[in-house]
Symmetry: C2
Subunit: 504 residues, 2 copies
């Protein structure tokens, strides 16, 4: 039995490619959200590893029979939950090539192509986003592929921390303060905890509906001033372009101006929305990025690149490498010594790293900038369709303005107007009825929709309002899926209202 | 143009599988260590992204022409550098399936199969390693797949740190001390820096040739006592089974006993050598692991699983989840609330995670425990062959005892005995000639060998001795490659001696 016999590899590889192609062909027949109960798999699989080999055909049968029912189908065209993990043939094939070569590109020498292609592709992408030269290798900065935004934030935060402590002394770590809004991703909290920032020094600044839940520069300034007065040291701001709950956009320019006065490192987390900024009409969302220290977005979210692939650019790579660099003897080599090359191990948490740039390279080349823009615009257009459908039904409302391809909406629980009157309610009163009951209604609505298996959405609670998030971005989604989704939403509201006694 | 058309996916998928199979078929024709110069790729590729799409056939031609020359061929049978990244058809196919489904398994609900299969496979593997029940889900602990050992160490260190600071107060972070030997992987230093441990509180305890560069429990105790006297707080010990430089094995039992007296968290880093412990005859190397708090090994090193896949077990998962848990509203769901399920996002740095357990599952099922042991034993046997070849040539020596499938050796620079006399040297003097000159010789020897492209080895410097590391573990390596490698080593020494004037 051979581990890597080329002909057996070829035979089994073709089987698995066909298995996945067949899966995509039939993906709509599965409930989008897995319907299994906790503990379903241990009941099926053996309790210990097999002693003797099993053929790939048997294993694939088991994947079909036992694994697929336990999968939530992120690639389904009816997947509208969280943010998309938009796959593509090119992104997939890049991952496959990378797995086939299976090189460990920790430094330049361990596989020069892995390093150089990454630098090239990060410059390509940076140009596509119209990032200032100060973030590009062709300028004075540079880009690196991380696994996730969590890692990107942790790396930049540690760089900022060490830069500051180098000036003020290590013993002052407990004075450092990190700033975010109440809409910032939990990744920031986690990164700050890992980096040893005191929990009470993580400022979570309140946002309001008045600013569409964007962080207000005035609120930031007030928080900073108060900390400075208390003898604390402002360190790091995580600004967001496209927040997780509602795709809110923090005003980068104004925030960076405030931060600059206090020498704060600004990281811009555009995990979801960053990719859309390759379209000229959306580029304004990152206006002001030139004032930030670092910028990241997830190509594995809405850029057709298989998980995981977070693109991070920094203005000052040396800040990263000073904090994260290691120089063990067993990795010494002439090119590293010459300082002519990038050793990406010093730009990230881990030593080992996969050849991730291959998948980005394949995505960009296989589709070209023009098609990539078209794909993104199509998703935004589909979200607009959904938004209009919501607006056309007076029983629903769009809760916050739509910025990208995600619509935040909720049922207002209005039965038909006639019924409201018949039941002695005033419509206006009903609309302003307490949000608690509305929240319960929408929770119930979402649960029924997801249980149906017809589509999958998730929720957010912002400003006390429970809302449904309809995030377009799965690569197989077409207009018809959006119309169908809306029909499902309406039908489930009908059913709930009927159950509540508003059955006409 | 479609992003994910199933039939186009199928067509292109088959092309790429054939491309990789052909690559494996012809892998021996490439120089193992890439011979390109820094900056080779920017000279070839365009400076900006293409506006229009390019066919996969063109891209694959470019991979062949431009990427392959820049790859160091980790899958080559003549690859003996660092530690192996031993690929396999099964490990590759698991990665491919995972990329095909492209689910984001941060919590149970986002894809129950991803979570449950991971827990099952980690218990399988734990049993294969004969880990105590206290590390398994079927006992009182649990296992999780991390990307790399660096992440595993950082996560456990942060858990240990927070547990300690919870007792002593957050302000005491600057008192915490982390222990390692001078052979411990640089991952520990990096993790400690990221976690905010003061650089001067990272104890790097010296090892010596007398203990084959294993950490001495007495030295550990002395270091701890000295710190305690200074009012510092001992926190964390990273013990290693199979160090990077020489595969030294720290005595776990004794070290854990010392650590237990002081309430120190012990992490066992068996990144490279852990997998071999599924063979009963090697299991003794991790005897004493029952006294540790956590244990990890890299399935992507020597367990035939595509990069990245680090297996981490902890006795107290709650210590991890207390430090790394986040509970944002947008991820709330019934199963998480019920606490019946594992949400692996709280066991790691990142939120997002790939379906990594698929590849481990495929490796274990496709080969079975019996074959996996045979593969590992074969590699050890091949290392033994090489060790004997080295020992049979009096111009070389094996520098430290071989534990696993890696041989540390060096040239002693002895020309033929007759020549020594002719040149007026005494053999004994020559053998004890100063190591500096020997080190230079071996550096030169390694550089010439790697430049030949016939094989690739790397070096280590331990106890002042520069040595060549011959690490067997590439999945395509057979006995003949080992014999050939030895021939290449001998020939290059011959050539050097000739250049030095010892040309008989």
């Amino acid at each position: 039995m051979d581990l890597l016999d080329p002909e057996e590899f070829r035979r089994q590889g073709h089987l698995v490619i066909d298995f996945i192609a067949d899966y995509y062909n039939s993906i709509e027949k599965y409930p989008v959200l897995s319907q299994v109960e906790p503990g379903y798999l241990p009941k099926i699989l053996p309790q210990s590893a097999p002693y003797t080999p099993e053929p790939i055909e048997t294993i694939l049968q088991d994947v079909q029979k036992h694994i697929l029912p336990g999968i939530t189908h992120w690639q389904s065209p009816n997947y509208f939950a969280y943010f998309p993990s938009s796959g593509s043939t090119a992104g997939f094939l890049g991952e496959v090539l990378s797995a086939g070569f299976n090189v460990v590109g920790f430094n330049w020498m361990s596989s020069p192509a892995a390093t150089e292609l990454e630098s090239i592709v990060m410059d390509w992408l940076g140009q596509m986003l119209n990032l200032p030269k100060s973030f590009l290798f062709s300028g004075t900065g540079g880009g690196v592929l991380q696994g996730t935004t969590c890692e990107a934030i942790l790396c930049t935060l540690v760089a900022a921390r060490d830069q500051m402590l180098h000036q003020t002394g290590r013993q002052n770590v407990n004075q450092l303060v990190v700033y975010a809004s109440d809409q910032t991703h939990s990744a920031l909290q986690k990164a700050a905890k890992i980096a040893g920032i005191l929990p009470q020094n993580i400022r979570v600044i309140k946002t309001t509906k008045a600013t569409s839940f964007a962080l207000s520069p005035d609120s930031l300034r007030m928080a900073i001033c108060s900390d400075v007065k208390s003898g604390l040291v402002p360190l790091f701001l995580c600004a967001t372009v496209g927040t997780t709950s509602t795709t809110a956009v923090d005003p980068l320019k104004e925030l960076c101006n405030v931060a600059a006065e206090y020498g704060i490192w600004v990281h811009v987390d555009a995990a979801y929305a960053g990719s859309s900024c390759i379209c000229p009409e959306f580029r304004h969302f990152i206006d002001g990025v030139e004032g930030a220290n670092s910028f990241s977005f997830n190509a594995h979210k809405w850029f057709f690149t298989t998980l995981d692939c977070c693109c991070l650019w920094v203005k000052d790579p040396r800040a990263l490498t000073k904090s994260l660099g290691t120089h063990p003897e067993f990795l010494r080599n002439k090119t590293t010594g010459s300082k002519e090359v990038v050793d990406y191990k010093d730009w990230q948490i881990a030593l080992s790293r996969r050849f991730r740039s291959l998948k980005l390279w394949l995505v960009i080349r296989s589709y070209g900038v023009n098609n990539l823009r078209i794909f993104l615009r199509n998703h935004v257009e589909m979200a607009k369709i959904f938004e209009e459908l919501v607006a056309s039904d007076h029983r629903f409302e769009v809760v916050v303005p739509r910025n990208f391809a995600m619509v935040c909406f909720r049922a207002l629980a209005l039965p038909k107007v006639e019924m409201v009157y018949r039941n002695g309610f005033n419509i206006t009163e009903m609309i302003s009825a307490d949000d608690k009951r509305r929240n319960e209604l929408n929770r119930e609505l979402l649960e029924r929709i997801n249980k149906s298996g017809n589509l999958y959405m998730t929720h957010a609670v912002v400003g006390g309002i429970y809302m449904l998030r309809f995030a377009v971005g799965a690569s197989l989604t077409e207009d018809r899926h959006v119309f169908l989704a809306w029909k499902v939403v309406q039908e489930h509201l009908d059913a709930i209202l009927e159950d509540m006694g508003f059955n006409g």
